[in-house]
Amino acid sequence: MDRNINVLIVDDYRTMLRIIRNLLKQLDFNNVDEATDGQEALAKLRAGNFGLVISDWNMAPMTGLDLLKEVRADAKLKNLPFIMITAESKTENVVAAKQAGVSNYIVKPFNAETLKEKIEKVMVHA
């Protein structure tokens, strides 16, 4: 697994961005950028060269699910590994995310081991 890839983390809670960034650092992912909603994330993804997106769902104006749909509809980004990390834990949310093409789904609160396991899983298939 290439840990030198650029990772974009997307969450409207800056504290959560900081926590995920620090957990990624522990996993030796040091090239990490941040966005606080889907629109900002989409602009960064289109402008940059990212190998993984880790996104929250509940953000305004563009949610994580809507970001995922935009990513999958974009010819350049459609195969980008996309992990949703969210407090949205209803079955209908997981199903909607899967139908939209999510690579994996982590429910908050989560632990570092789960994050590591899901990243390894999606990067193997990337």
């Binding site: 800056r14 504290t15 749909k69 079955t91 209908e92």
Partner: protein
Amino acid sequence: MPDGTPGTSDDDRIEAAVRAVLGSMAGDLTAREAALLAELEALGRTIARAKAEIAALSVDDITGAHIPSATDELDAIVGHTAEATNEILDSCEVLERLQTEVPEPASTALQGAVTRIYEACSFQDITGQRISKVVSALKAIESRVEAAVANAAGRVAPAPAAPAVPRTEGQELAHGPQLPGGGTSQEEIDRLLASFD
């Protein structure tokens, strides 16, 4: 009420209605009919009293002071917990920098402890989302109270603001954190995702 004295006006109307019923009845009332009529009159007066009490509610206090004050307090909770969490994270980052200077096995133990703290600090996100749900509930109560008071006072209740643009699927499905036992566990999510493969 149009004349500004809701109780009196409603009482007059109830009396008029009872008289109209009495006038329409041929012959003497039976005891049962009289009792029923008395019950109807009492019910009418209770409704009129309730309407007058609702109309007299200090809705401006609720919508102008109590609810904004409650939402401000809740926002302050989010702010204070975010501040405290960031101070904890500051300390964790110091510990991580010092970790390289600590011999094994203490270094690994230190890293494990810091990781646990990071995991625990994610409570702040969940707390914030739960508080946002409470604020939304308070705002919904505020608009319902306004509508109930307007109806009781014979005014037209303000129509709820329509969303400016259609909501996306992502917005429609944004419910926020579920109560314990109300959501799907990570294990169940993993099984559900695997069922698609």
